[in-house]
């Protein structure tokens, strides 16, 4: 479907030699942003995604597009397929049917989890998952965007800029004092923040954030809302959340999932008054 526009984006044939020579001259691989072609204004394309577990359809021909730089909230009752959708995007679950593209060129269904992660899709899990036996600092270091191959890791040392980056993120997530504490000793809310910090270290283009404010105090979730809003724009942010107040505070666009399909999509106020949405939520 998007093959056509891909073709159109190429420079005319006569210019092609110049293009390739200049890229040879700079002697580098195409950057991540070049690989992920978002010229059309969209960064994620999910079409007709169907996933079934033992006959139960977790996703039923789900079609969803995420715009570059947008902040999208996904809501829906339990079992609506929110987490499965994230599993499909990050390569954990392969759909039975459908297509998932990242930018115009990258077919997510052909890539493994680490490949998808290094192309710039970062994920925060519903249950905060940090490395309990590592310090806060090491958690951030592990997540940092870097050459993540085996031999490269053996001799790797942090550069001054990387130290600064870690310090900067520690500041944002408010864990400066806990930098050498083991992640396992943090409170639930702090773990949530640490995981968000790990997401920032990866410097992803797309952030998939699953229930970021579960277990946070009101104040903490306010600052989370603020952080996510700042991130949108430079990054595309997809948030799955139950907390309606939180959704209201950040959402520009909301997608409601129900039984593996998109039930409604639009601005929060509009969706809130949608008859079908009310029925699903009240009928629960």
């Amino acid at each position: 479907m998007f093959g056509g526009s891909d073709e159109k984006d190429k420079p005319p044939r006569s210019f092609q030699p110049f293009v390739s020579r200049s890229s040879n001259f700079s002697a580098r691989k195409p950057s991540r942003d070049e690989l992920v072609n978002t010229d059309s204004g969209y960064i994620l394309y999910l079409e007709d995604i169907t996933v079934s577990f033992d006959g139960f359809k977790a996703l039923d021909e789900l079609t969803l597009y995420i715009e570059t730089g947008e902040l999208r909230c996904i809501i829906g009752p339990n079992g609506a397929g929110k987490t499965t959708m994230m599993d499909v995007i990050t390569g954990k679950t392969r759909p039975d049917f459908g297509t998932a593209f990242y930018g115009q060129r990258i077919d997510l269904l052909r890539l493994t989890e680490p490949e998808i992660a290094s192309l710039g899709i970062g994920r925060k899990f519903q249950k905060p998952t940090v490395f309990d036996n590592h310090t806060v600092h090491d958690n951030l270091e592990l997540a940092m965007e870097a050459d993540k191959r085996v031999w490269a890791s053996l001799a790797r040392k942090l550069s001054a800029e990387e130290r600064d980056r870690i310090a900067e993120v520690l500041d944002i997530i408010g864990l400066k004092e806990a930098v050498s504490a083991l992640a396992g000793s943090l409170s639930h809310g702090q773990k949530q923040w640490l995981e968000i910090g790990m997401l920032l270290m990866q410097n992803p283009l797309v952030l998939l954030v699953d229930e970021p404010v579960a277990g946070m105090t009101k104040q903490e979730s306010e600052s989370t809302a603020e952080l996510l809003t700042t991130l949108a724009g430079d990054h595309s942010v997809v948030v799955v959340e139950h907390d309606m107040e939180f959704v209201r505070s950040i959402a520009r666009r909301v997608t409601v999932l129900h039984e593996g399909r998109v039930l409604a999509e639009g601005p929060f106020d509009e969706v809130q008054h949608d008859a079908k949405v009310i029925e699903v939520y009240l009928g629960e």
């Binding site: 680490p114 490395f131 053996l154 790797r156």
Partner: protein
Amino acid sequence: MLLGRLLKQDWGPTILLGILGVLCVVVPVANLLIPEDSVFHVSTYTVTLLGKYLCFALLAMALDLVWGYCGVLSLGHGAFFALGGYAMGMYLMRQIGTRGVYGHPELPDFMVFLNWEELPWYWFGFDAFWFAMLMVVLVPGLLALVFGWLAFRSRVTGVYLSIMTQALTYALMLAFFRNEMGFGGNNGLTDFKDILGASLQSDVTRVVLFVVSAIALASTYLFCRFVVTSKLGRVVTAVRDADDRTRFIGYRVENYKVWIFTVSAVLAGIAGALYVPQVGIINPSEFQPLNSIELVVWVAVGGRGTLYGAALGAVLVNFAKTWLTSEYPEVWLFALGGLFILVTVALPKGVVGLLRNLLGKET
């Protein structure tokens, strides 16, 4: 600065390296210079026994690297140890030359006995020491690489992986039992005469082998510390604790597992190569699944994930084994089983964990 990084843990590293350093001086002196009738004399039997313990300690450390730090419970590490041992054994067999019972210049006795006409192709090159040493590293390493690549790529983990490694060592045992394999069948390789021209029966050679084992153990320890304190080490422990999470931040988990598994197998092979000239025999019983399980007990007793704890556990358990099998031979297996249960229930962090608790908080 690097040394500081390697030793910075608690007192364990310093004590381990200190003991090995002292042994390297005291044992040769006590064996070679102090007269036999003195109480301070250490018999050659004891030297060899200690050397054997050091090889086991090295083997335990290799397992701890992959089990303690990467969470891969290999129940087949004895196989890599035995393969390294066989490579060394083949070199030692070729050194016998015409001194064998049949006096054949090229063929080992068992081949003459089987009426073989010429040396099988896979025995070529083993008359050269450097080639044999290369094989000590390459054969276990390649086997681990292929096995690990197949297993980890298919995401075989946990108990399934343990069972597969157990099957691997069992299959190798059955194969090496066959005479047609050309490794001496159930008798294995023995009757070694000398190594690099030095008689294996002489006290000096025994002492040298002991010192080499001690140096190998110390170097292995420093190498393993280098690995586990590098970023690679932190990734590997991350894999142990949450492998899915590690994948989602962009690490190819299976490559890390294959790497650490292969390195561990190479170390186990080196331990086997040091072991064989000291005990004077290598046979298929080294592949027994029980050996690999015993090895896991050593590491568990000493304290998983500390490296020096594994060495300590290997020495403690083997000392107990030497003592029990001579005093009460029938009790040993029960004692081993009991020990494993005791450690699992009462000392989840092994002797090292216990000592740390007694000495108050450290790391």
